[in-house]
Point group: C2
Chain length 414, copies 2
């Protein structure tokens, strides 16, 4: 089957999903979970083959770990599909509605996008997760997994499609896109057949998709997250938030990367934060002023304020005042999550209104910027772009809207 | 000034607009209107020069008419800026808000996009209009008008920028992008500097921008609008709506292009609709079955169900039933506005839930699908795409959102 044929089949399936009610979608998700559990042995055998191939071609231990499935992970994928069934249906929600002067009733109603393409790297658990989120939001999916996980993805998709058929729904609601680099290229050019592309992976993948795609893309980007210690900050609070945001899970996009300390609290704040961070195993890289205040600070090299460490490293800088902190953030932010710790209402308001990011926080940890913590129940990624969806994306963000007008014969007069 | 310098200046201005309150924006719009009125003579002289150049290079009468400004048209542009001042401020609106389990307060708040680029064809009145809508929504604008309107646009922009300075705001909030084809190319590649591109013009322009741009684009596309005459339709109503949707203003995107008549009412409906349309000066192009029912119907050529006539022509087709009508629409629709005339609640619901378009109408004219008729007060175009904005776009659609979190020291536990 060519990609075009596959995309057309997905589009045809999407017209069925468009009108499927919640009970129908939830029954399909339950049936997909049943088939996935039944296929555990098959999925693990396929995964073992992928891992064997990976080892033979010199795949790193880290990548192997991302690729590896276990019975528990397969059970987690099935449970994930069931938990989607427990979430409300985003489709049909009336976003707003009113009557016009002439008495035409207008409702803006949430509808599915149609066909969503997802391009992702090694983890095969994304396959079930993404298929489920698309289905629950009434969309067909074209899933382009990594070639290194091909056998695992095939086995998972086979199970999911059997579940769809069991539930009386079209198997083509969920599709694995195979083929080399050309398949990705075809996806990116399939405007009119594919309604949205979401790349999930490293910066290289995301940039390639953003610059090469004529299909609309949502960027789930990188997080170079800052925290500002304001002059009026409670330093106990600052220390607790910095430690949590940096060390609770350093490898994720909402982890803290840079602390900016205002000059007039630097003398007390820098040694205290550096001490706590060092005790926790974090290496602090700083500018001259922070190095001068604490000998444990390693001088920061060029470019260190722009990169995500995603490790137990943190950049620190002493800035003159809040405007200087805002300027640093405007220059270096990736638009993910930016935090201030402050006791000042004015500083909090200035910060939240000035910073251009998906999330702007006062006195809490950037680790809260996450679909689960937001209570969305499901998350397809965190958008760092401004169009359509910004911040954690749940089911609602996988929808469009349509205006429905109902009249009694009205025609336009002027 | 290079395009990059200009875009950077616009971005700097956008950081001022981001925090400007409603009073500040409205005062700027008022001052822009004052300066534009004062510059009427200068603007008309510049326009005369553009027209002269156009005539010399063989510009068609129609294009000259679109390019031509009069004292009344300049007054209309100034009044348009004043009417924007009368509209509410979309910025700061809380879209939704809640407290998390741990007591962190989350608000999703409307914020400006930043810098909006608009690429448009001959009409110089779009210049003031677009600049005003961007400003009111807190965005800086990069306006790329047609080279044939260059002198007119320069004069308008000069007036608008003087008004901004009078009001104490940065002149770089409004910018005219000059330079040849390369300038358009640079705009399309300026990801990170330009947040959104809106092409306003013919299909050729729109397709070139959509396929060539790495900056997010909103398509304000074409409208191949259908109307279905259901078996249970009130034929008086169908006739009135068809006439209005086709003839009230045939050249616009929400005008009717194709009528689909269900077989079991065709014998009465076709001659009646064709008679009324012909009397109104419309040429009806039809399939074999409609030709057989009324000799005034001209046989439709290949491709006539796909093109927008934008003229006093209409395509007609007799279809077997509602599913056949839905299939025809799915194949030929441009996703703008689709209508059914019906007395059946079931047919109305099936139609509105099945058709994938920006607007889906029951028993009223597609001419209502318009920002003015919707009560938006201002319109930057009608989006026929599904991402970010779909249907008529007003001030709200020129915004993004940001999540604002306020805590009292909370950190993430699990």
């Amino acid at each position: 089957m060519t990609f075009q044929e596959q995309a057309r089949a997905a589009k045809a399936a999407s017209t069925v999903l468009r009108r499927l009610d919640r009970a129908g979608k939830d029954a399909a998700l339950a049936a997909m979970a049943v088939r996935l559990r039944e296929s555990t042995g098959e999925v693990l055998a396929a995964n073992a083959a992928d891992l064997e191939r990976g080892r033979a071609s010199g795949m790193t231990e880290g990548l192997q770990d991302r690729l590896r499935l276990t019975a528990e992970r397969v059970e987690g994928m099935a449970a994930g599909l069931e938990s989607l069934a427990a979430l409300g249906d985003p489709i049909g929600e009336v976003v707003r509605g009113w009557n016009t002067d002439q008495g035409v009733r207008i409702e803006q109603v949430r509808v599915p996008l149609g066909v969503i393409g997802i391009i992702y790297e090694a983890r095969p658990n994304v396959t079930a997760d993404a298929a489920g989120i698309c289905l629950k939001s009434g969309n067909a999916s074209l899933l382009r997994g990594s070639s290194s996980a091909l056998e695992s993805n095939r086995a998972v998709i086979r199970a999911l499609r059997s579940g769809l058929v069991d539930a009386g729904q079209p198997a083509d609601a969920v599709n694995l896109v195979e083929g080399g680099h050309e398949a990705t290229q075809e996806m990116m050019g399939a405007r009119g057949l594919v309604d949205l592309l979401i790349p999930r992976g490293g910066a290289g993948l995301i940039n390639a998709v953003v610059s090469g795609s004529s299909v609309p893309v949502i960027e789930t980007g990188t997080g170079n997250c800052h925290l500002v210690v304001d002059s009026s900050a409670d330093l106990d609070m600052a220390e607790a938030i910095v430690l949590n945001a940096k060390t609770q899970r350093p490898s994720v996009c909402n982890a803290l990367e840079t602390v900016l300390v205002l000059r007039d609290v630097a003398e007390s704040a820098v040694p205290r934060l550096v001490g706590a961070l060092t005790d926790a195993g974090v290496t602090v890289h700083g500018d001259e002023r922070s190095v001068a205040l604490d000998a444990a600070v390693v001088p920061a090299g060029p470019g260190e304020y722009d990169a995500e460490y995603l490790s137990m490293d943190l950049a620190m800088k002493v800035v003159d005042d809040l405007p200087a902190a805002l300027e640093h953030i405007a220059e270096h932010s990736s638009g993910h999550s930016e935090t201030i710790v402050t006791g000042s209402l004015e500083a909090a308001r200035t910060f939240q209104e000035s910073v251009d990011a998906a999330a702007v926080l006062v006195n809490c940890s950037s680790r809260f910027v996450d679909g689960g913590e937001f209570g969305f129940g499901a998350e397809i990624g965190i958008s760092t772009q401004k169009m359509h969806a910004r911040g954690p994306m749940g089911l609602t963000e996988m929808t469009s809207t349509s205006y429905r007008l109902v009249g009694t014969g009205q025609v336009r007069l002027g």
